[in-house]
């Protein structure tokens, strides 16, 4: 990378190539939705083009101002001193956990709720997995005075209670979804059903870079603020680009946000860390994949409005996924991310529940940052590679990393969210797995719930 390449503002440089005008990313993307929703998608495409891409009525200025004043942006790029020392690398943390609400999710939620307001919509609905997107949407809706309903799988309601309380306290309705395993997949299906009845006055704030066009492109553009800031910050701090950017990947919104501005920088490796769950083995008869490693092990198909990579059985039925982290627990992934993996620009890897949990404790005790369990997967991968490049966690279906060290000297890790919401799960799982490196919480038994 020569200095002249970095002179142009990344936003201007990339905007054209970033936008998928026809809604397709290679062979992924599209609009596979019931006819009743198509006019709403056309209306949204028009609004996306005018307000987001062309800044009509100063929409983007308004959005940026609110991200700053309400959301607390820009977030710092912090050098992680003890991790840098431990792994012998320059490790920088993009602190999205410091965004209002505790996760990157507000970038998108605020953008979409504001857009709904500019479009004259009267009601907001959203799905949520871990509850971070639901929380961010509830906050944005309260901030912009819009009624808001959140759909959340029953399993997730139970394992992410603090976020349920936050949504309710912000004034949102929370509708538990009992279908299937009661996680993100079911919540998305149910929100789509609501939208197909209420589409004329309601906007569906989808929580990730998934779903039908224009959602994947639009959500990426709202989240791209992460890499716009990080790219400038790292150039300022180190006079150069990083060797790699690492982010966890469920649906892929923090991933695409962290990668977007670095995609044209070919020297920068982009690593998406998925949830390996408890195992990469699939139980076809039970319809269960005990992981959420869609990019690493999934196959092309059509779900929730897009052609993308999915966890599915040989007939095309969608599998029930699993991860200790509710926010990664999804059988699909954003179509653009599927495409970037397909063309080799993004490397998918995965770490299992245990490695993620160990990384959660490591970051908490060594850096004083309690990460979301989703985020902990990215640090779990760093640890796996950091210890010994030859034991980098890849599976049979993942192409082996070409160099011995996929991460290089200077690394940006996206700290996509903070882990307050996960404490109950972490304490429970830490005991269950018998992790040794974790603080002993047994003295508090019975007092936590």
């Amino acid at each position: 990378m020569t200095p002249t390449d970095t002179d142009t503002r990344p936003t201007e440089r990339n905007r054209d190539e970033r936008t998928a005008e026809d809604g397709n990313f290679g062979r992924f993307g599209g609009q596979y939705v019931p006819e009743a929703l198509m006019p709403a998608l056309e209306e949204l495409e028009d609004a996306y083009r005018r307000y987001v891409l062309e800044n009509e009525d100063g929409f983007m200025d308004d959005f940026r101002r609110r991200l700053r004043d309400f959301g607390g942006r820009p977030t710092p790029l912090q050098r992680a001193d003890r991790l840098s020392e431990r792994y012998g690398r320059e490790i920088y943390l993009k602190r999205e956990d410091l965004v209002h609400g505790g996760a990157h999710k507000l970038n998108n939620a605020l953008g979409q709720v504001l857009l709904a307001k500019y479009m004259g919509k009267e009601r907001i609905i959203a799905e949520t997995g871990a509850g971070q997107h639901g929380t961010a949407t509830a906050m944005a809706a309260a901030h912009l005075d819009m009624p808001c309903e959140i759909y959340m799988g029953r399993t997730d309601v139970n394992r992410q209670r603090p976020n349920v309380f936050r949504m309710r306290i912000n004034g949102a309705e929370v509708n538990p979804v009992d279908a299937g395993r009661g996680t993100l997949k079911e919540a998305i299906s149910e929100t789509m059903r609501d939208w197909s009845q209420t589409v004329e006055h309601t906007h569906y704030v989808i929580g990730s870079v998934v779903g039908p066009h224009p959602f994947p492109a639009m959500v990426r553009d709202f989240q791209a603020v992460i890499s716009e800031e990080a790219r400038e910050q790292i150039l300022e701090e180190t006079d150069g680009l990083p060797d790699s950017v690492v982010a966890c990947a469920g649906g892929g919104s923090n991933t695409m946000g962290a990668f977007a501005e670095f995609i044209p920088d070919e020297s920068v490796s982009l690593v998406a860390v998925e949830a390996g769950g408890s195992s990469l083995e699939v139980d076809e008869a039970a319809g269960v994949a005990p992981n959420s490693a869609t990019l690493s092990t999934g196959e092309e198909g059509v779900l929730h409005g897009a052609r993308t990579t999915l966890l599915q059985d040989s007939h095309g039925q969608i599998m029930e996924s699993h991860s200790v982290s509710a926010g990664l627990d999804y059988a699909g992934v954003g179509p653009e991310l599927a495409h970037l993996v397909d063309i080799g620009r993004v490397t998918p890897v995965n770490v299992d529940d245990r490695v993620a949990l160990e990384a959660f404790h490591r970051l908490s005790t060594e850096e004083g940052i309690i990460p979301a369990l989703e985020t902990a997967h990215a640090f779990g991968y760093l640890h796996a590679v950091g210890t010994d490049a030859d034991t980098a966690l890849t599976d049979a279906d993942t192409p082996p990393v070409e160099s011995d060290d996929p991460l290089g000297e200077t690394i940006i890790i996206n700290v996509s969210g903070r882990g307050d919401k996960d404490l109950e799960t972490v304490i429970e799982q830490t005991a269950e797995m018998g992790l040794e490196a974790a603080p002993d919480m047994s003295v508090f038994d019975g007092g936590l719930r």
């Binding site: 596979y32 198509m38 006019p39 059903r193």
Partner: protein
């Protein structure tokens, strides 16, 4: 257009029932579909269950779960169709991922080829709007099968025209916004939708919310060429399952409901048409 589907609309209003194939199990489901045929069905929409039925309300979601749990798969579905002894032409209603995966990398053609082989005459694919339908449309044309599109209350202007260029068999007119499911009110949106389709020469069948003979009569009187009924019939299957009623009783209840709906449709028709034959 497939000859069977065309003929179904030729003499009077068409009654088009829906059931999920394999709900609650393979054997009972065969009997239920045959009961609808005896009750006067002109076309039968058979659901091939998909794990994420985003266009369905709670009633049909439950049916889909029962069918999946009883082991229904695409290949088993084709066997089911082959085994059915019915006069009415059969239309497969399913989601695109199942059609796509069946092709194993070759697109929708292998699914359509197999569907044609077992005697299916058309498809309704609720998550496949006209914009994404070209590959399936081409395969349907090759084998002479119909691709039926849903026209929603929100479908207007250019979209409607584009869709009417692609549609064959019949137009599935969605009576109101929302997912499938029986409702007591039959929406005003139906009249508006039918007016918008007045110039369309493909038969117009109205679905979403019809559950009684009276509803059927009103819809046909409003100008529809057919009625599509799903949830009201699935309710009977679900009730039989819950009360452990003998399959024969449930089949008889389905046949009676089919007669009620068909008679309603006939009553709503301005043409003089004969009553359906009693067995």
């Amino acid at each position: 257009m497939s000859d069977g589907i065309e003929a179904a609309f030729a003499d009077g209003p068409a009654f088009i029932p829906y059931l999920a194939a394999g709900d609650p199990n393979y054997e009972a489901s065969l009997e239920y579909v045959e009961a609808l045929d005896r009750g006067g069905a002109d076309v039968i929409e058979l659901g091939l269950p998909f794990s994420e039925p985003i266009a369905e309300g709670p009633t049909i979601q439950e049916a889909v779960i029962r069918a999946l749990e009883s082991g229904m798969t695409p290949e088993r579905f084709f066997e089911f169709v082959e085994e059915l002894d019915v006069d009415a032409p059969l239309v497969c209603m399913t989601y695109y991922n199942l059609i796509y995966q069946y092709g194993d990398g070759e697109g929708p053609r292998p699914f359509v080829e197999r569907a044609n082989e077992v005697g299916l005459e058309g498809f309704v694919v609720p998550d496949l709007p006209a914009e994404e339908a070209d590959p399936l449309r081409d395969a349907c044309d090759e084998f002479g099968l119909d691709l039926i599109f849903i026209v929603a209350p929100t479908t207007r202007g250019d979209r409607l025209e584009r869709m009417l260029e692609h549609v064959s068999g019949y137009v599935y007119v969605q009576a109101r916004l929302g997912t499938t499911g029986a409702r007591d009110d039959v929406s005003d949106q139906t009249d508006t939708s039918l007016e918008r389709l007045a110039d369309c020469d493909v038969p117009k069948a109205v679905g979403f919310g019809i559950k009684t003979g009276e509803h059927a009569e009103r819809i046909i009187a409003a100008g529809a060429d057919g009625i599509i009924v799903g949830s009201a019939l699935v309710d009977i299957v679900a009730a039989g399952e819950e009360n452990e009623e003998a399959t024969a009783d449930t089949a008889a209840a389905l046949e009676a409901k089919a007669r009620e709906l068909k008679s309603g449709a006939l009553a709503g028709s301005s043409e003089t048409v004969p009553e359906p034959e009693q067995p």
